[in-house]
Amino acid sequence: MSSSDTSSRRRAVHHEAEGLAATLPPLLVAAERVAATVAQGVHGRRRVGTGETFWQFRRYQGGDSAQMIDWRQSAKADPLYVRETEWEAAQSVWLWRDASPSMDYRSARSLPTKANRADLVTLALASLLLRASERVALLGTGMKPSSGRITLNRLAALIEGGQASTGSLPVGERLPRHARVILIGDFLVPLEDLRATVGALASRSLRGHLLQVLDPAEETLPFGGRVRFEGPEEEGDILFGRVESIRVDYREEMTRHHRGLEALARQVGWTFTTHRTDRPPQTPLLSLFLALSEIPDV
């Protein structure tokens, strides 16, 4: 595939992501504690803090700066009033999607590759967040969280350019506390590796969400006959004379892996969702939307 084809396909992903995001309202990330950044957002947090919108007047107390006194209000009555504004702060969300060779897989021509679907969901989510003026960054690229339409273009360019990390798991990066992390990938790695990565993030009070994207063939193993399986990431190969005979075992093994992932997410208070590429992308987007805005799952 030539590079122009690649870029056009990815631009198509960008547009598709916008279209997908248009079906949902802007995503305002629920935050008890916003990431320890100084960046200011535009949306009120329904509590007093720095911001531009009026929130309430309160009596002047000792220790308040004189500059905080609202003279116009104070002149109407005896006490001195202090004008308080609503806290307007933006949450920072770090997105990561698996760009390893194992994601570049589809079992049928009618299906998108896993990487394609992961890119789509990532960009759609970013678009939703940016419309709510949240701050978004792509984990593993070293970019600072930022907001605004231009950020989406930067994200898309980063994904298109393949500048994001290509490992099966995010590399450790110093993230501010209380930020949000979204990890999208197939997570077909040993559970211990994943546990280490997630544990490191969770220990910094980061809350996160895992979205596993799988091809239907990876769940059901629909092949038959004599097959030599090869791993996409240099894991070696293996020959089966009759694939049918191991299908049941394979499914059991896959279910075990799922349970492991679920347990892992539950331990650190994260959420875990599975998505198959033969299902519509709205489903994982909606579940991430709900998880991020902390609306109880319906």
């Binding site: 194992s102 994601m103 897989y105 896993k114 197939d186 077909l188 790695v189 040993p190 091809d215 063939a217 990876e218 092949f223 038959g224 006959g225 004599r226 097959v227 030599r228 399986f229 090869e230 791993g231 996409p232 894991e235 070696g236 190969d237 293996i238 020959l239 089966f240 004379g241 009759r242 005979s245 191991i246 075992d249 394979y250 093994e253 896959m254 892996h257």
Partner: protein, 909 residues
């Protein structure tokens, strides 16, 4: 070469590779098929399962068998097997190939050629020279030189050998072979005789002579495959008797004989049988004289030899009649001529010439007619007498000159009976008060069976002198017993005297229909054309080739002198065919010159005998290679499928199944309208306008009716705005008739229709239907009676002939008469105004066999010749058909006065 039954191997050593098959089996068995390779991300999970499963290391059995089959096929293909290989070249010297290519070999010539080719191939494999000798001699009985040929030369020469239309000369071939120095020096080789299965010359001598050159193999036709011979027909009265012979009487066999006209049209096709044991069979061809005069060739179907073709010339065809006049040119006063009525009566079915005796007898002539005024010199009388002795028929008419007693006692008077002398005796005859009528013809008379009209009277006649044999010589009498026609056989011919004049001065016999019939009987009595031969050379016009096809004569064909024509032997310089001038040609036939056909006797011991029906040599190599290739393809597909690289598409199979179902349904729906019943019949018949014919139950008649209406529909669709569907045969007993504008009813001799059918037909006619009755034979009285019976039962109104004002003459084309296959009879319709029905006749009746003229086969070729013939008659027949359909569809529309001026203008009035 190594032989196994009918199978031979050119390279048998290749079969040793079969020993290696078990090794191949073992190798194939332990080599498993290549696995399908698949990139699969969750490999780690699979790795956890790896220890539990062991892969299948062996190929499946069916694949193994498939591959072994491919190997075996390849090994056999390399061994180059031949099926039915020609074998048995035993000697060392050249292969002597003696090929019968006389007339009898043409029938199975391709088999002979294949055999020649096989034998030459065989000698080429054995690297032996070939001597190729055809047994039909060339000009002057010469044969090609005896050369030792290489296989390639022999092949070229073998292809050039053609069957010839003359007999073989085996003794001559043997002589040439014996005289050959090249053959005498060569070591003894093999001799193969490709015989035609018939005896010619001394077979024993020939066979023992051939055995001098090496072991002999004889190929001969099987007893059931021998050729038959068709002798030229012999005329017997109106009929032609053709006889066919065959060499042996084994089994009974049916042969079909076809009769063709000058222009190649098929005039008749009849079958005859050889009963078991019979060597000869005869076939009587009865053709109307019009058709018989056009007959040019008879042949046995499917024989394709010159012996199965009989060419006919004037001797069979025409019965030329000469009228003796003083001058050759026509009479200045035709109506007063004595020959006027004779000429009129003879013209339609014979060729009539006029002229002095000398000129008339110079050409072939069957009958000579002498009137009272005809000039006869003594030399003429002698000439005529001699000609009668050879088979001529002289017909004389009496008259005033004869009655005046001109030398009627003279033996040279050319009279069959002695006549009463002088005018006085005749004067008594003149004194009759009432003109005499004719008595019925006696059984011995050639006129027996002709109906005698009551209004034929004779006023004057010459009287015969009573004699002992007068009664025998009398062919016709008046009612008072006096002879009217007397005749005497003289040599092979007849001398006939009519005791009255040839014109209407003495009698009204010449203007009656009886006169025509009597003249016809007299003409058929004649032997055919009789001519005195002269020595004019007759150059070849067209000659037969070995397959019995006429074509231009080869350059070495010689002319034949006229006086020895009948003794001329058919040979290379005089092949059978037509000789003479284009307008007066004579046929030279092969069959009468051949001896009786006899099959070859059994061969002496030591001679190998076989037939031609042996299957030709067949190399199996290409077939084996093709099979191996197909199987290899199958193996490849199977391997792909096993590796999962092929996916079966059910949609393709479903599509094919649907297609098959649709096609089958289509075929099932395309059944004929005739077999439909009830509503379906009504729908089919009414959605398209169709012509219908009344099915007679006789397949021959029905097929002609169907073809005729088909042909008419084609023409109508082409020329008019009417769009007709395919015609349909109906049975008035059961089918609804109301849908059809016109019924064509070929009248047959079966009885009247049942009351049911009559009721339906009456209803049909009352509702505005129209029926065209066709008796199909202008002279047939039987079908006329059948039509009369039909008309009675249907209570048809009286019919009148179509007059020139009738709508039928102008409903589409302007027409005067209405020919079909025949012409000359009247067309009958209802009297105008007889019925309400707008004055449109519900019935049209005639006898011209219109369906025969309209009939077309599926390639739109006309099926029957029209008589007397010509494209104009055919065209007029179609025009009548179109007029009739227009009449049936539009009624009396064209009778409307509005169109009269335009019609008058076109008529030029």
């Amino acid at each position: 070469m190594w032989t196994l039954g009918t199978l031979s191997f050119v390279a048998p050593w290749a079969l040793t590779a079969l020993i290696g098959l078990p090794v191949l089996w073992w190798l194939l068995r332990i080599t498993p098929p290549a696995p399908r390779r698949l990139r699969f991300p969750p490999l780690r999970i699979l790795l956890n399962l790896a220890t539990r499963e062991e892969s299948a290391a062996k190929s499946p059995l069916w694949l193994l068998i498939l591959r072994m089959t491919i190997a075996v096929l390849l090994i056999f293909a390399v061994a180059d097997p031949l099926f039915n290989a020609v074998q048995g070249l035993r000697g060392q010297g050249p292969l002597v190939l003696v090929v019968d290519n006389g007339w009898a070999s043409a029938r199975d010539w391709p088999a002979r050629q294949a055999m020649m080719s096989d034998l030459i191939d065989e000698s080429s494999r054995a690297e032996r020279a070939v001597v190729l000798m055809p047994t039909a001699p060339g000009p002057e009985g010469r044969f090609p030189a005896v050369d030792l040929l290489s296989a390639d030369e022999a092949r070229t020469r073998a292809e050039a050998i053609r069957p010839q239309p003359w007999p073989t000369d085996r003794a001559g071939v043997l002589e040439s072979l014996r005289a050959s120095a090249a053959l005498a020096e060569a070591p003894a080789g093999d001799v193969v005789w490709l015989g035609d299965g018939l005896v010619e010359g001394d077979t024993y001598d020939f066979v023992s002579g051939l055995r001098m050159f090496g072991p002999l193999r004889v190929l001969r036709e099987g007893p059931g495959h021998l050729v038959a011979l068709l002798q030229p027909p012999v005329a017997e009265g109106d009929d032609l008797i053709a006889s066919a012979t065959r060499p042996n009487g084994r089994g009974d066999a049916e042969i079909w004989i076809r009769a063709y006209g000058d222009d190649g049209t098929l005039l008749a096709r009849q079958s005859t049988r050889f009963e078991a044991g019979d060597l000869e069979t005869a076939l009587t061809l009865s053709l109307p004289s019009e058709l018989r005069n056009r007959l040019a060739r008879l042949e046995i179907e499917d024989q394709t030899t010159a012996g199965a073709v009989a060419l006919l010339d004037e001797r069979w065809r025409r019965r030329p009649v000469g009228l003796v006049t003083a001058e050759r040119n026509a009479d200045p006063q035709p109506l007063l001529s004595e020959f006027y009525y004779v000429h009129k009566a003879l013209q339609p079915f014979t060729e009539v010439r006029r002229g002095p005796v000398e000129e008339l007898l110079g050409r072939e002539l069957a009958v000579i007619v002498i009137a009272d005024m005809s000039p006869l010199s003594d030399a003429d009388r002698e000439r005529i007498a001699a000609w009668i002795g050879e088979g001529g028929v002289a017909l004389r008419f009496a008259g005033p000159r004869l009655a005046e007693g001109a030398a009627n006692t003279d033996p040279q008077a050319l009279l069959p009976v002695m006549l009463r002398d002088g005018g006085r005796t005749l004067g008594g005859a003149l004194s009759w008060q009432e003109p005499a009528t004719l008595a019925p013809f006696e059984p011995a008379s050639p006129f027996h069976g002709l109906a005698v009209p009551e209004d034929v009277t004779v006023e004057r006649q010459v009287l015969a002198l009573p004699s002992l044999d007068l009664a025998e010589k009398t062919w016709a009498r008046l009612s008072d017993g006096t002879p009217l026609v007397t005749a005497e056989k003289s040599g092979r011919g007849w001398l006939i005297l009519v005791h009255t004049m040839a014109n209407s001065d003495w009698s009204n016999l010449p203007i009656s229909g009886l006169f025509v019939d009597m003249l016809r009987r007299i003409v058929t009595l004649s032997q055919g054309a009789v001519a005195s031969p002269d020595a004019t050379p007759l150059p070849p016009v067209e000659v037969l080739d070995g397959f019995g096809r006429l074509g231009p004569a080869p350059a070495d064909t010689l002319a034949i002198s006229g006086d020895v024509f009948t003794e001329t032997r058919v040979s290379a310089v005089n092949p059978p065919g037509y000789y003479g001038q284009e307008d007066a040609r004579r046929a030279l036939n092969l069959a009468p010159q051949l001896d009786e056909l006899r099959p070859l006797p059994s061969m002496p011991s030591g001679v190998e005998v076989s037939g031609y029906d042996k299957a030709p040599e067949l190399s199996l190599k290409p077939w084996l290679l093709a099979a191996a290739f197909l199987l290899a393809l199958l193996d490849y597909i199977a391997s792909l499928a096993m590796r999962g690289l092929l996916r079966f598409r059910p949609s393709v199979a479903a599509g094919a199944a649907i297609l098959a179902v649709v096609l089958f349904n289509g075929a099932a729906q395309a059944q004929s309208l005739d077999q439909l019943g009830g509503d379906q019949f009504a729908l089919e018949a009414s959605l398209t306008t169709r012509l219908a014919f009344v099915a007679s139950g006789d397949d021959d008649i029905d097929s002609v009716s169907r073809a005729g209406l088909h042909g008419l529909s084609v023409i109508v669709n082409r020329r008019t705005a009417v769009e007709l569907g395919p015609p349909v045969g109906i049975d008035p007993e059961t089918d609804e008739l109301l849908f059809f504008p016109l019924l064509y009813w070929p009248v047959t001799e079966q009885g009247a229709p049942s009351p049911d059918a009559v009721a339906r037909l009456r209803e049909y006619l009352a509702a505005g239907g129209m029926i065209l009755f066709d008796t199909r034979d202008p002279n047939g009285t039987v079908s006329m009676n059948a039509l009369r019976g039909l008309a009675d039962s249907l209570e048809l109104p009286p019919l009148v002939p179509v007059d020139s004002e009738h709508v039928l003459t102008r409903s589409y084309y302007l027409m005067r008469d209405f020919p079909g296959r025949w012409t000359g009879s009247l067309l009958w319709v209802e009297q105008a105004g007889e019925r309400i029905n707008d004055g449109v006749s519900t019935v049209v009746a005639g006898s011209h066999d219109w369906a025969g003229a309209w009939a077309m086969d599926e390639y739109q070729r006309h099926m029957f010749a029209v008589v007397p013939g010509g494209e104009r008659q055919r065209e007029m027949a179609y025009r009548f058909g179109i007029n009739l359909i227009m009449y049936a569809l539009t009624g009396n529309y064209k009778a409307d006065q509005v169109h009269l001026p335009a019609i008058l203008e076109r008529l030029g009035l």
